[in-house]
Each structure stands twice: as structure tokens, then as C-alpha cells.
């Protein structure tokens, strides 16, 4: 049916705008360089614990390998949130009307928008993969494929979340405040930059770390997203391996449903 043409047009517009958005591209490239190459290399030597004179690895990988999948998630989060800003821009600058007055059904308009935003976020996440060889992360084709699928799933859910939030915020400034108050806290409490020791039980972990922190990390859905990408790219899962895809899938479905309900009401 011809409606696919419309979905394609909306998707393509997101891609074109992202390619022309220099600020976003600079961010998407500088972030992995900073986090992986500088912070990763800098903290690498400190990632091993010496206990009773014996060198013990908290996590049997280097810090570079540990943080690598987390930075992928970071890039996806930032970009997904920024594509939501374009929702506000479309509303402010009138382009949304052109689409609303067209014969495209609302649900397809939303799908085009989300697929476009998720594609851009996934590509930004993939920029991090370029640094794989600096971090001794071995990527074979099947791992890469599964990884990309998971990245897309995460990007889809986060783009929908961004749109849901953008629908409720009237101005750009408000959105900026919100994204900074949300993205970084979510990121830091997702077992991204420091691990919860898998060798310890829940109770033992609460001895090493304060209770509130452990609770936050375990409740944070991003924790499981980062974990499942770690599982795919470096073969290390702190949590049950199936939790990641399930939670990301649930996020995608729930947030898309809310975004659609919002959109239909308008």
C-alpha cells in the first residue's frame, strides 16, 4: 500500500536531518573518544583489586572492555533524547501541521518518526564500535548482528520515551533541563562505569556498596540493557542473560503505546 511511502518519507527526513546536524555528530564522535579512550585507558590500571597480596580481577576483563558496551548505550541515550527534541521543534515551527493534515494515519506517522529516530540512535551507538580494536574487543559477525539488533531495540524504546516526554514539555529549555537531570543519572547507575561484583551475593554486595545504590542499580532498566550488550560483545553478564532483551522489549512496547495514545489524542 502507498502508506509505506509516507513512513519512508518520515524516516528519511529524520536521517537527513541527523546527517546535517553537525552538533549532534560532533557529540556522537567525541563522547566515545572521551569515555573509552581517555577515561577507559586512564582507569584501566586501577580496575584490578589486590586482596591479601594476590591480584584479583573484580571482573575478568579490562576496564576498557568493561566500559565499552556502556558507552554504546550512552550514545544511544543521548541521541534518542535529542530526536525527541525534534518533536518539540516540529510543533514550534509548524512542520507537524503539514503531516497532521495529510492523509497518513497517525499511527504510521509515529512509526516513521520512531524508526527514524531509532535508526539514527543506533548508528550513533555504532560509532563506538569503531573503537573496538583499541579496546581488545573481538567482534565477529554474528555477535555484531545480535548486538545491532539489541541496540536497535534499545534505541526504539528510548526514542519512544523521549517522544512521550517531549509531548509533555512545552519548551526547549525545559527539555534540556530534564534530559540532563535524567540521562546522566540513569547512565551512571546502570553498572556502566563501576560494576556490582558478580562473585558476591546480593547481601554481600550491600556490604561493599550502600544499600540505596545497589537498589537503584538493580531497579534501573538501563542496567540490564548495558548488561546484555556486555554479554554479546565481551561475553560477560552480571545478571540473568535473558533479562536484558525482555526489559528492552517491554520498554519498547510500553513507551510506544503511550506515545501512540498521546498522538491520537492530539
Amino acid at each position: 500500500m502507498g502508506a509505506i511511502g509516507g513512513v519512508y518519507a518520515i524516516w528519511l527526513r529524520e536521517i537527513k536531518r541527523a546527517l546535517r546536524d553537525r552538533g549532534q555528530l560532533v557529540g556522537g564522535i567525541s563522547r566515545p573518544l572521551l569515555w573509552v579512550l581517555i577515561l577507559g585507558i586512564g582507569l584501566n590500571p586501577y580496575f584490578r583489586a589486590e586482596i591479601y597480596g594476590e591480584v584479583r580481577f573484580v571482573v575478568p576483563y579490562t576496564y576498557l572492555q568493561f566500559i565499552f558496551p556502556a558507552v554504546i548505550v550512552l550514545n544511544i541515550m543521548y541521541t534518542a533524547v535529542q530526536s525527541a527534541v525534534s518533536v518539540i521543534a516540529d510543533r514550534e515551527f509548524g512542520f507537524l501541521r503539514e503531516v497532521l493534515v495529510s492523509p497518513m494515519p497517525r499511527s504510521l506517522v509515529l512509526i516513521g518518526k520512531v524508526l527514524g529516530g531509532a535508526t539514527v540512535a543506533m548508528v550513533h551507538g555504532s560509532l563506538v564500535l569503531v573503537l573496538a580494536e583499541f579496546t581488545d574487543v573481538n567482534l565477529n559477525l554474528s555477535d555484531l548482528f545480535i548486538g545491532l539488533l539489541l541496540m536497535f531495540l534499545l534505541a526504539f524504546g528510548l526514542t519512544c520515551l523521549g517522544i512521550v516526554i517531549a509531548n509533555r514539555i512545552r519548551s526547549f529549555e525545559g527539555f534540556g533541563v530534564f534530559s540532563n537531570a535524567v540521562i546522566l543519572p540513569l547512565y551512571f547507575t546502570s553498572s556502566s562505569v563501576f560494576p556490582l561484583d558478580p562473585a558476591l551475593t546480593g547481601a554481600q554486595t550491600r556490604v561493599v556498596y550502600p544499600e540505596w545504590l545497589v537498589n537503584i542499580v538493580q531497579a534501573n532498566p538501563i542496567t540490564y540493557a548495558v548488561d546484555s550488550l556486555r554479554g554479546v560483545f565481551i561475553g560477560f553478564n552480571q545478571f540473568e542473560a535473558s533479562l536484558g532483551p525482555i526489559i528492552m522489549g517491554a520498554m519498547a512496547v510500553v513507551f510506544f503505546a503511550i506515545a501512540l495514545w498521546d498522538f491520537r489524542r492530539a
Partner: protein
């Protein structure tokens, strides 16, 4: 007249915003392929009506049909027949002219072969073929308007709605836009609905509909409106205050205008004759205006109607203070 020949049918539309009644059982009919102008002060209900016709607003009650399709029951079909150009531009500044037009074609299900033919033709008609690969952000306001008009015709639109098409444009651009509209209409054939508050533009229309307070006050061709509601106005500039007093005592129904002139509404010939014969020396300057749409508008939607509590729409002579 069968309903296929009516481009738009509106019956008893009601829309309330809180306590404000934006549309008060408004009804009108627009014939296929006519140029129809909607005229009214701000807050008259024009934009509300337009938004309902575009299916982006639901009325509280009443029906509206565009191209024969009920906007409430078959909004998608109504939208296919519509091409809309809003007052605020709705182009994507970060895409090129061509990309914007392609986007529209895809979203309106226009087959690729038709797009490839129509887009260059339309760009040619609005004299913007050379700008096809330029980013829309680099175009002037007038050029953006032309692109939007061309865009509205890429699909098989039968009804084109233009909401204040020339606001924000200089006089030259305004005239150009109308020239393009005339050419496009002659080539393509469509119903054109325009809302505007520039009275001189309204003369282009086959019929003019004057709305205020959510109701239709008058709906007829410009000539017919002038004949029925237009007033001749004689304006006099008196020499001094004494002259002014002499003139107003002779014509007690005259009103003072802010620039010091005295306006006398009535049958121009008699008023002129009396003025010149009896008050010649008191006059510094006199001018005569034939019935114009300006006076039609004033007499139907003048200040008196706004001031009167629950004002009813009666044609009032502009002379009454």
C-alpha cells in the same frame, strides 16, 4: 445543486472554547472551482472554521463536508482532497526545496511518475526551478509561500485552503502571490478558499463571506455586497474649528475621524451639492468614496456591534458614534 458540485458544505457548526463561543451554528456552502474569501476581524471564528475543515479540530456539533467527504466520519478522504497552506510556514528549513516537495508527494501517496512530472512543472509555474536544490532555510518569506502553494498542488487536491496567505509579505510579493494563484487556478482548476484581512485582496474572489462572532453576516459576490451594504462616504477637511462646527450642524449625523476629517455617510451626490453650495468657504478639502468593500466591512462589523451587549449583526451606518 447536487452535493458533488459543492466543494464545501458546512451546516450549523458549533464550537466553544470555555465560555467563548467561537462558532455559532455557522452554515455556508462553497461551490466547486470558485474563489471564496472569508473575511472577518480577529476572533471572528475564521481560523476555527478552517481548522475544522482541515480535520485537525472537532466541532461540538454540526457537520462539515469537504469534496463530498464528511470531515468527522471520513477525515482521511477529506484530507486527500485538501491542500492547506497555513499562516505559519510549515516547511522544513533543513531540507532542500526538492526534498520538501518529495516528502509531501510521498506522504500524500502520489506515485513516483506523477511526482517526477508535477514537481518540476509546479516549480516552473512559481518561478522557483533554479532553487530546487537549495535549503529552504535560505529562501525569503515570499519564496517560501510560493513553495507552499506549489506543494499543495502536488497531489490531486480539489480544495485549496489559504489562511492569510500574504501576511508578512511586502506589497510586491503580495501581488505576485495572487498572480501565481490566478495562473495555477486557470491551469489546474480547483476551489480556492482564502481567509484574509486585506480588503483589496477580497476583490479577487467570486464570493466574499463576512463572518463575525462565529456567524455569517453576509455571503455574496463583491459587487452584490457593495450594492447592498456599501455606503458612499464624503470626507471633508474643514478650515478651522468654526468651519467644523458649521459643517456638523448642517449634517448632525456626521462623525469625526481621527485625522481631523469629517465623514458624512449618505447619498454622495446630494451631500456634495449641499456642501459646496452652502459651506464652500468652510471647506479646505473634500473627497468622495464610492461604495467599497471597506465600507461594507465596517458597516457589518463596525465598533458599534462590538460595544453593544450581545450585539446583533445589523448593518449600521458608520456615522453613528
Amino acid at each position: 445543486m447536487s452535493s458533488e458540485e459543492l466543494a464545501v458544505e458546512v451546516k450549523d457548526l458549533v464550537k466553544r472554547y470555555g465560555r467563548t463561543l467561537a462558532l455559532n451554528k455557522l452554515s455556508l456552502e462553497i461551490k466547486a472551482n470558485e474563489t471564496f474569501a472569508l473575511l472577518g476581524p480577529n476572533g471572528a471564528g475564521k481560523t476555527t472554521l478552517i481548522h475544522i475543515l482541515c480535520t485537525i479540530l472537532r466541532p461540538d456539533s454540526g457537520t462539515a463536508k469537504v469534496g463530498g467527504h464528511d470531515v468527522l466520519r471520513h477525515p482521511l478522504r477529506a484530507r486527500r482532497a485538501l491542500g492547506v497552506i497555513f499562516q505559519e510556514p510549515s516547511l522544513d528549513a533543513r531540507l532542500t526545496v526538492q526534498e520538501n516537495l518529495d516528502f509531501h508527494g510521498l506522504v500524500y501517496n502520489v506515485p513516483a511518475s506523477v511526482r517526477r512530472k508535477r514537481i518540476p512543472e509546479l516549480l516552473e509555474l512559481v518561478d522557483l526551478s533554479d532553487w530546487r536544490s537549495k535549503l529552504v532555510g535560505s529562501l525569503s518569506a515570499g519564496m517560501k509561500r510560493r513553495i507552499e502553494i506549489a506543494r499543495a498542488l502536488i497531489h490531486d487536491s480539489k480544495v485549496i485552503i489559504l489562511d492569510e496567505p500574504t501576511v508578512g509579505l511586502d506589497a510586491q510579493s503580495r501581488e505576485n502571490i495572487w498572480e501565481y494563484l490566478r495562473q495555477l487556478k486557470a491551469t489546474r482548476g480547483f476551489t480556492l478558499i482564502v481567509t484574509t484581512h486585506y480588503i483589496e485582496e477580497v476583490d479577487e474572489a467570486d464570493r466574499v463571506c463576512i463572518v463575525d462572532h462565529g456567524s455569517v453576516l453576509a455571503n455574496d459576490s463583491p459587487d452584490a455586497l457593495r450594492a447592498e451594504f456599501g455606503r458612499e462616504i464624503v470626507r471633508v477637511t474643514p478650515h478651522d474649528a468654526d468651519s467644523a462646527a458649521a459643517i456638523t450642524s448642517k449634517f448632525p449625523e456626521a462623525t469625526s475621524e481621527p485625522d481631523g476629517q469629517i465623514a458624512i455617510v449618505g447619498v454622495g451626490g446630494e451631500v456634495m451639492a449641499t456642501l459646496l453650495r452652502e459651506l464652500g468657504p468652510q471647506i479646505k478639502h473634500v473627497s468622495y468614496d464610492r461604495p467599497s468593500l471597506e465600507s461594507v466591512f465596517l458597516s457589518l462589523t463596525g465598533r458599534e456591534i462590538r460595544d453593544a451587549p450581545g450585539g446583533t449583526a445589523k448593518p449600521l451606518a458608520a456615522a453613528r458614534q
